[in-house]
Symmetry: C2
Subunit: 143 residues, 2 copies
């Protein structure tokens, strides 16, 4: 049976190229709100659901637990997140967005969404629908 995709470019190469275009499109949005990529990832994860430990948050966004500390420090200093010791186990830090954090996240997310939509602007509606659905499926496969 012949393979119709035999001569397609590497999937990896295509993902990297498109990923770079995405980052380039999103960087100015994040910069305008003075939020780093990791900071945005943290806001996004906490917007989905508050977390009971920093380790769980790190795992959720695919980062090392030592790497998010500085990010949490800054977000807390700007009063975008709350980080308080759990009274029942004072080793763990309960993490959640403040109203200000939720508000900022909503703004940034809307602008990022708009930038992404511009990148997808050349697609037909049918293609766009399939692409997003498939990508969602592929990105949720187990590590």
């Amino acid at each position: 049976m012949p393979d119709p995709d035999r001569d397609r470019p590497d999937l990896g190469a295509m993902i990297v190229r498109f990923g770079r275009a995405l980052i380039a499109a999103e960087r100015p949005v994040l910069a305008a709100h003075d939020v780093s990529m990791w900071g945005y990832a943290v806001l996004s994860a906490l917007a989905d659901e508050p977390m009971r430990t920093q380790a769980a948050l790190a795992r959720a966004i695919g980062a090392d637990k030592t790497r998010i500390i500085g990010i949490l420090d800054e977000l807390q200093e700007r009063a975008l997140i709350e980080r308080e010791p759990d009274p029942e186990d004072r080793r763990v830090r309960l993490l959640r967005l403040t109203p200000a954090g939720r508000h900022l996240y909503a703004s940034v997310r809307a602008e990022i969404h708009a930038a992404e939509e511009r990148l997808l602007g050349g697609l037909t509606l049918a293609d766009k629908g399939v692409f997003l659905r498939v990508l969602q499926q592929l990105s949720h496969e187990p590590d």
Copy 2:
């Protein structure tokens, strides 16, 4: 007009997650052949067409010109590429794969292809076709 994709996950987040899965799947293949990610990118670019300058090659794979030097050194040492001064302008280095380089590249690419196909294994043929076509389109948009 309502937006049916309003609540989709961030495109960037999905691309990053899928990109990580791809890298994880391809890393053992590259390691088995003792080729780095950048080394593979170089082999791939030169397999498409020989290049007249290292700067052009760097641009083609989205790397800095200073960063590919060590990679070219190693590939040359292993006799996978040829790098000779252009007689007509001795500043530039003509770059091309050796037969051994072309052979190694074909092997690695076939295995990477197979690994990628496994990741896409859960898709219907129609979805896979649309996904690859759209991704190809999106990855070729101007920077």
